[in-house]
Structures are given as C-alpha cells and as structure tokens.
C-alpha cells in the first residue's frame, strides 16, 4: 500500500530558486525569500494520489458518518456542473455527520496543470483525493457492480447501507438521496 503526496509545485519552486541562484548569483537573497513566504501564505492544496488498493479504504469506513463519494474530473463538464452541490452538502450537512469525498480521475500529468489550479480557483472545501489506477476494469466493479465506468458517478454509504448513482445530480436530488441516509 502506498500513497504519493503530490507536492511537485514546491519541488519545482525550489528547483526554480536553485536555477535562479545558479544563473544569477547577484540576485538579492531577499527576493527569493519573499517569494517563498508568498508561497507558504498561498497555501496551495495538496492532493493525495492513490492506486485502488490504497483507495479502497475510503469506500468501507464503518463509523457513524455518512460518506458521499463523488467520482469526477476537471475535464468532465457534467461533473463540474454538479460539484457546487457536493460542496453545498459538505457545508450544510457538516453537523449531520456527512462527509463529502471528491475523487478526481484526472490524468496524473494534469494534477499540477489542471486539478490543483481548479481546486484553488473554486476554493474547494471538501476533501479531494486523486485515484490513479489505469486498470479500471479490475476496480470499477469493486466500487459498484452497477457502474459502467461513465462519470460523473456517486456512491453514498454508511455502515448499514450503500447506494450507487451513475448520473448527474441537481442540489434537490442530491439532498433527497443524502437524507435517506440520515435518520
């Protein structure tokens, strides 16, 4: 079981700073340090990357919470359209023990270019993880036997029951489904 932490931006930045230092030794030290400060203040989101084996635990948490697991990608227009509804569930159902998990299926090479900038731009509050496991035929049925593989797709579960939806939601529909899991 392994987890990659995607922090290439920081690495890139350091490389960039080193590069600058090498290229131009006269560069005042303060500038780079100010930049580093800015970087820290910016608070760039970090995405955890999982293969399915490592990811599977998120589908089987047996506590008193309701888990809303949404499979999406930045390139998937219907996914982006419904994302605010999942964010609203995260916000409005916090006190009702509901946890939203946004599972990005973006290609790994897009994490830095698309996924992280998207998360920043839209200030996503729900937890985002990246699922990177190309052999999807092996794991799609483990998410749900009903899933053909099209996204968006959503799994809602608690320790007692689960429901899978290969469809898009509006807020009312999503609320109705989440409410089924809240007693």
């Amino acid at each position: 079981m392994y987890i990659f932490i995607v922090m290439n931006i920081r690495v890139l930045f350091i490389v960039f700073v080193l590069f600058l230092n090498c290229k131009n030794e006269n560069k005042p030290q303060e500038i780079t340090s100010t930049k580093e400060k800015e970087y820290v203040l910016e608070d760039k989101p970090i995405v955890e990357e999982y293969d399915f084996n490592a990811f599977e635990k998120f589908l089987n948490i047996k506590d008193d919470k309701v888990y809303v697991v949404n499979f999406w990608a930045t390139w998937c227009a219907p996914c982006i359209k419904e994302l605010p509804y999942f964010e609203a569930i995260h916000e409005n159902y916090k006190n009702k023990n509901v946890v939203v998990l946004l599972v990005s299926l973006d290609f790994p090479k897009q994490y830095q270019k698309k996924l992280i900038p998207f998360m920043q731009k839209h200030k996503l509050k729900s937890k985002v993880v990246a699922l990177n496991d190309p052999d999807s035929n092996s794991w799609i049925p483990k998410v749900s036997e009903e899933w053909s593989g099209a996204i968006p797709a959503t799994l809602i579960y608690n320790k007692e029951k689960r429901a899978f939806y290969e469809q898009s939601f509006n807020y009312e529909e999503l609320k109705t489904e989440v409410n089924r899991f809240i007693n």
């Binding site: 390139w75 998937c76 227009a77 290609f107 190309p134 999807s136 035929n137 799609i140 053909s148 099209a150």
Partner: protein, 206 residues
C-alpha cells in the same frame, strides 16, 4: 389521418411497454452478449451514409462509440486507428460513431469530427449519431465504448462489450488487449474469453 392513427398507436405501444419496464430496476439497458445488433444508416464525415450492410465482405465489425472531446477517447485515437489497420483487411473494420449531442458538446460537431479525422489520418468511417437514436439501442453509456459484432445468419451478433485495453494512460503498459483478443478469437472460430470489461469514460452528452 392514417398517419395520425399510426403515430397515436405507436405512442400507445411505447407507453404500454414503458409501463411494464419502468418498475424494473435496470440501470443499463441495451445489448447483452449474444444479442443481434441493429444496423443503421448514419452520416460519415465525408457526407456519405454508412450502414453495416454496405460491408458485404466483412466477417464482423468493431463498433466504437467515441468522440473528439473526451480525454479518454483522445487517449485511444491512435489505438483505434491501429485496430482498423490491423483488422479491416481481416474482415473486422472499425466503425466509429460519435454519439454526443453537439449542442451540448460543440467540439464534436461534424466539422470538428472532419478536422480531427484529417489531423489524425483516420482510415475508418467516423459517423455521427444524428438524433442520438443508435447509441441507446446499443446501450453505450460513455466514450470510448466498444461493441465487437460477428456477422451470423441471424444478423450481427454482439460478441464483446467494453474497453479497448487495460491501460488508457500508457499503451506501452497495456497487458490485456481486450478488443484484439476478442477479434483474434472470432477469426479463429473460437469463443471470446473475456466478453465484457469496464473502463472509465465520459458520459455521452444528451
């Protein structure tokens, strides 16, 4: 008047059928392995209409629902072209069908399909599912979504449904070429071993 009666009775039949099927919890309708697939007459990017029946010498078909705009479909473009190069002469040509509603997905309009086909040098027909009548009959849910058909006396029988292979990201890391294995088996007169697979794909835009 006759036409009106026809329409009304057709509607009544549709209502009757749906009354019986709505209660069934079936997420994926469409073809199962062994079903006979419908033929169609769809417009190709060259403006000509294409039907499976036009291919009198074919032994079967690799029907692929795909499009310009889905990153998964794009990742498979070269592999789809390679399938056609490898199997068209052996009797299993690729027939690509673009199922998306182009009002929702303008990047899949016929002109865009033409441009993409030209840029990539597609040698297979790239048809537009005008009116989106064909993909629901097949039961395609996403792009890319493959149906391997074998010509039989009864019609074009569905022999394989699913993904092209087991690695969309990296062709070099593919370990199972599902479609090739299926067509190779059919060419040898054997049973397809892995008949159905799944892969992540882009929802067909309605």
């Amino acid at each position: 008047m006759k036409k009106a009666i026809k329409i009304v009775s057709a509607l009544a039949i549709v209502l009757l059928i749906s009354a019986f099927t709505v209660s069934k919890v079936s997420v994926h309708s469409g073809y199962k392995i062994g079903d006979i697939a419908t033929d169609f007459s769809l417009k190709n990017i060259d403006g000509k209409m294409v039907s499976l029946a036009d291919y009198t010498d074919a032994k079967g078909f690799i029907v692929i629902f795909t499009c310009n705009t889905c990153p998964y479909a794009v990742a498979y473009e070269d592999r789809i072209e390679a399938l056609n190069k490898k199997y068209a002469d052996k009797g299993y040509p690729v027939i690509a069908i673009m199922p998306n509603n182009t009002d929702v997905q303008p990047g899949d309009r016929l002109e865009a399909m033409q441009a993409r086909a030209k840029a990539k040098g597609f040698t297979f027909p790239y048809l537009k599912d005008e009116g989106q009548k064909i993909y629901p009959q097949y039961g395609a849910t996403k792009t890319p979504h493959v149906y391997v058909l074998q010509k039989t006396k009864k019609g074009n029988q569905v022999k394989y449904i699913g993904a092209i292979d087991d690695n969309y990201q990296d062709e070099a890391s593919v370990s199972k070429k599902y479609v090739e294995n299926a067509v190779d088996a059919l060419l040898l007169g054997k049973e397809v071993e892995e008949k159905e697979t799944r892969a992540i794909g882009c929802t067909i835009k309605v």
